[in-house]
């Protein structure tokens, strides 16, 4: 059956780089552990199941260089194993505690299965979760793309050298991780300004994604339902807000269904303190443990939430998958009737929504893909390269400056709650550029070269989007501000040491171990554009 439309699902997997080898237990490292157990492993398992059943998923997954580095970090791998082991131990106790309660027992078994699955998958791939993703891409099941080196919101970087460094370092990192050149680039926060194009092209990228209103121009005759060619030759896909909203929104979308698991009610806050003490932080303060026995229920207080029923949740998944596909078919037909084109519907989501926040998300994705195949629906899942290989010549469009952030521009990253760090990031970037220019054509001693490269790494880390964003939403804000200060100070100090030829090699080695990403980063990426 000829497809009436194409669906391009893009999952953007990203976490900020958090690695504190100096601490046995560090609160913010849990973001990574939760991401692995609740999102990355379930997604990999879901993809494996589909492939095993002869169904090609056709998903596009963006893996940020910071997440890639954490997935390959041996120190974090050991901590992750400890995290999973402790959860398995807790689930053993939980299975015993609730054995006479059939409702809770069903959910407890689900969590025991979740942690076992994580342990088995990690063991199967010897701790390296990049391997299965690489295999899936190699066999043509999915397409993997990258994003800026440390997920900087590119339009908020004042210096073109910083743009180039964020993009070029990401391209090199992708090549080293996936053994091939990257074609696609996820603009962090879909934040676009026209300066990014030249650097994307220089680094060999062929396409990127933007927010819907970036292509709200008369030249974009098909709205967000076609690929376009941006000036300079790169292809651009714009996010379809309609299909995205149904999935991401707790208020309007599927994840808010009363049958789904409630995110905010957690055993870490419900259980007797003595009972869960071994699984809390060293200081014994309560925190979410990821074990949640309640369902959303409805607009009621957390204390009034009812118990979760996995079977009811799975029934909702089936309903929502069917509804999602029916809506896409209707959408495709309406676009065809209005514009005479078979649309590509680009649905972009943060990967961590699936599993971590929307617990049933991976099951929903699997159901959507299976149903399309099993019910022979006239829809096809395509990856960007596939689509570009077969679509008509894209029309030329000049995308507009935009992001997918609140209000459509850069408010979350440039505001009164986080502007105290903006100047430091910009100033240390300028310092880096000046020093790179100075050393550009010089023979540099090995310690100085290491110091300059680590300084470049620290500058990139200071530029990450996550720090100002956390300050904006008031979550882990102190930690975020300290990270910016710390990276900026590390960079400034390393640059001074390189200039003064007095590198503290012991301290440098510790920093290289701690902030260990972008393995072959070259400080010269920061040299002035005119000198490069």
């Amino acid at each position: 059956m000829r497809p009436r439309g194409s669906i391009m699902l893009v999952l953007h997997a990203h976490l900020p780089y958090v690695n504190h080898p100096e601490h046995p237990d560090f609160l913010e490292e849990n973001w990574f552990f939760e991401g692995v157990v609740e999102t990355y492993v379930p997604l990999i398992s879901m993809l494996d199941r589909l492939v095993k059943d002869g169904i090609r998923p056709g998903l596009t997954i963006s893996i940020s260089p910071t997440l890639g580095a954490m997935l390959e970090n041996e120190q974090l791998e050991k901590k992750l194993k400890r995290y999973i082991d402790s959860r398995l131990e807790l689930m053993e106790k939980e299975l015993a505690r609730v054995e006479n309660d059939p409702v809770l027992l069903k959910t407890a078994r689900l969590y025991a299965g979740l942690y076992s699955q994580a342990a088995e998958t990690i063991h199967k791939y010897s701790g390296d979760l990049i391997t299965p993703l690489k295999q899936l891409q190699h066999s043509g099941q999915i397409e993997i793309i990258t994003t800026a080196a440390t997920h900087a919101v590119l339009p908020t970087l004042a210096h073109p050298e910083a743009l180039r460094a964020q993009i070029a370092a990401a391209a090199d990192d992708y090549f080293d991780r996936f053994n091939r050149k990257a074609s696609g680039f996820w603009l962090p926060e879909c934040a676009y300004d026209p300066r990014v194009q030249a650097y994307l092209r220089l680094s060999g990228f062929k396409y990127f994604f933007t927010e819907s209103h970036a292509v709200r121009t008369p030249a974009a005759a098909n709205g967000v339902y076609s690929a376009y060619r941006a000036p300079g030759g790169l292809n651009v896909f714009a996010r379809d807000a309609e299909s995205s909203k149904e999935v991401w929104s707790a208020k309007f979308g599927y994840p808010g269904d009363p049958a789904y698991r409630e995110f905010y009610r957690d055993l870490g806050y419900d259980a007797d303190l003595e009972y869960i003490k071994p699984y809390l932080s060293a200081d014994g303060s309560r925190r979410a443990l990821g074990i949640k026995y309640h369902r959303i229920t409805g607009p009621v207080d957390l204390s009034a939430k009812q118990y979760y029923d996995p079977d009811e949740a799975m029934a909702a998944v089936e309903r929502h998958a069917a509804d999602f596909l029916a809506r896409r078919l209707k959408q495709a037909d309406e676009i065809f009737a209005a514009k005479g084109v078979r649309p590509v519907i680009t649905g972009c989501y943060d990967a961590e929504l699936f599993g971590h926040w929307w617990f049933e998300g991976p099951a929903f994705l699997e159901a959507v893909i299976r149903k399309t195949r099993q019910e022979r629906l006239p829809l096809q899942f395509v990856t960007p390269e596939e689509y570009l290989n077969t679509c008509p010549e894209p029309a030329e469009v000049s995308p507009q400056i935009s992001s997918w952030g609140e209000n459509g521009y850069f408010d979350p990253w440039v505001n009164e709650k986080n502007d105290s760090v903006s100047h430091k990031v910009l100033a240390v970037t300028e310092l880096m550029i000046g020093t790179a220019n100075r050393f550009l054509n010089q023979e540099v001693s090995t310690p100085a070269l290491r110091a300059l490269n680590q300084a470049a790494r620290e500058v990139l880390l200071a530029q990450g989007s996550d720090w100002p964003f956390l300050m904006y939403i008031g979550s882990h804000a102190k930690y975020a501000a300290e990270r910016v200060d710390g990276h900026a100070a590390n960079a400034a100090r390393l640059l001074a040491e390189a200039l003064e030829k007095r590198v503290d090699e012991k301290a440098l080695a510790e920093l290289e171990k701690k902030n260990s990403l972008l393995g072959r980063l070259d400080f010269r990426l920061f040299a002035s554009v005119s000198k490069f």
Partner: protein
């Protein structure tokens, strides 16, 4: 465990490290607001405190394709930052920082980087699909 960053050596004061020159930057927040921030070198800060310059500086926002300054905003030299309304959307803007000397003459101290301000044509839809907040938000919405 407390949220803190335990660096391998004493963290130098980043503000001190960066006080080697005057700097001004302009960042775009949205079509109707840009952020301008500035810092002074030690020498310039001393000049302000010694009264070489008037304590009130002037930030001028101008569009690249239009040489006449579109808007001027006074600020305290020590304020370090200001949110301003850009002269026009869809144009590349620069902020220039001026100070008044004792003799009443104005001196241009520095220019910021240039940045493209969004034009009105690119107004976002009512329903942005922003999702990133959810991962870190640990309390009910």
């Amino acid at each position: 465990m407390a949220n803190f960053v335990d660096y391998s050596y004493d963290m130098p004061d980043i503000n001190e490290l960066l006080r080697n020159s005057d700097r001004a930057y302009l960042l775009v927040r949205n079509p109707s607001s840009v952020f301008v921030c500035w810092t002074w070198s030690r020498a310039r800060a001393e000049a302000f405190t010694a009264g070489v310059y008037d304590g009130e500086i002037l930030i001028k926002l101008s569009a690249e394709d239009d040489n006449s300054p579109a808007s001027e905003y006074p600020a305290s030299w020590a304020a370090g930052k200001l949110y301003l309304k850009p002269p026009a959307g869809g144009r590349i803007c620069t902020a220039s920082v001026f100070a008044r000397k004792k003799d009443g003459s104005r001196e241009k101290l520095m220019d910021s980087n240039s940045a493209l301000v969004p034009g009105p044509a690119a107004a976002p839809g009512l329903e942005s699909g922003y999702a990133s907040a959810e991962f870190f938000r640990k309390e009910p919405v």
